[in-house]
Symmetry: C3
Subunit: 181 residues, 3 copies
């Protein structure tokens, strides 16, 4: 396939989602937005609904899947259609919060490995958004340290599975792997 | 103009200010240093004064403006003169601390939009220094989260307004937009 | 020497150590692993020993030196041998924890300057791993702020002393200085 699976990395408010949307739009293919956000309260539910409506007006079909992401990607991927997964960081949060306390690390690693393994076999291209979270001081609390370790490992796995990896800062892309879009 | 407005991004102690100073010096133009730091106490006041004297010995004229930065840039910009603004992160801190509590976000966004809009119309070139602050774990406290969101959005706006954007790590520049200096 | 001293920078779980190991392995030279980790408890001691055994099976000789790193590098460096120092961030932690409380900053700066000065004079090539820690929000506590300042300054010094500097994200290298490996 000419458009490679693309991992878009960046910090908070780096413009990574906007860049990923532009990449997906640029394919000219049918667009499916795979949202991993979970509504914790009414305000969040309203915000998610509003974003979904805005995307619909812009030509996106939205699929919400906070946890079973690999299965959703396999189900939705198709030739002539591009998937935008936004984002792996919220998905990883959901996976970690739902993992069994006595086997959290192995459950999380298995889920991440399964997700990375699913990508190359998809029937159509995917653009996946993920956060860089490991460029600061070591966090005080254990959960935050575990999360940044898991996120870093996930980003490495996904980078291996994708044909293109882009790092975004201040809205500007820097291609780390593959050819610039 | 041959020297484009340049945004210099980087983490703490990345060498971004030193790189920005070298860029400004390299223009061969008259140099004005627009300092946004605010003295909270006597020690800070002494430190600011010492830095100003060191820069004067090195050929800089220093202008201090913690808040009305767009106006100061418009007033000081001139053909044959380069402005160095150090830094947008301290300016944003001042703007956020001074914003009305009931309309903080809209006031901050208006100030950032006005600053970004002012740059392309300046009568001479500017080099602007700003921090990358969103590459770590989500901060615990609300103010820190709001700040990193605002800083990320400001950096995106400024990157659109500048002809060149440079990311600095370990003192080494990586050009994200425009031609390397 | 054809293989330049190489500084490998990156965030937590960025794949920087794995990349550094691959660079050292690629030289085809005899390999010495200079470990700076300190065992705080029995679990850490076991982990360090396990890693040392794994590396031995892979052709590395391990030398442990938490503090006197410049001397260890000078002693171990030799033509036909490459040193891998993993990592400068743990070393800096050890230096800061061991510094005299009333002169911490000057002691740390002297140690960092001495380390950077030692590199160009080594009898054989070195690959040095260090963390980027300054891309987040300003930390709440003083020690963390001091650490990230010291780490940033150290990375700048080391980048000046090395012929090649590589920034790693998601396991992918970005060459900031020198020619890509």
């Amino acid at each position: 396939m000419s458009f490679p699976h693309t991992l878009v990395l960046g910090g908070a408010r780096s413009g990574k989602s906007r860049h990923a949307e532009a990449l997906a739009r640029g394919t000219g293919l049918e667009r499916v937005y795979l949202a991993t956000a979970t509504a914790w309260d009414g305000e969040m539910r309203d915000r998610i609904a509003r974003h979904r409506d805005e995307r619909a007006a812009d030509g996106w079909r939205t699929v919400e899947e906070p946890l079973a992401l690999a299965a959703a990607m396999e189900r939705e991927a198709a030739p002539g259609r591009v998937l935008l997964v936004d984002c792996l960081t919220l998905w990883l949060t959901n996976v970690m919060l739902g993992a069994p306390p006595d086997a959290a690390r192995s459950a999380v690693e298995a889920a991440c490995a399964a997700l990375a393994a699913a990508v190359p076999a998809l029937a159509g291209p995917a653009v996946l958004v993920s956060n860089e979270v490991g460029w600061g001081i070591v966090p005080d609390n254990r959960l935050a340290r575990d999360f940044r370790d898991a996120q870093g490992r996930l980003n490495q796995h996904m980078a291996e599975s994708c044909g293109r990896v882009v790092l975004v800062a201040a809205g500007l892309p820097l291609t780390l792997k593959g050819t610039p879009a």
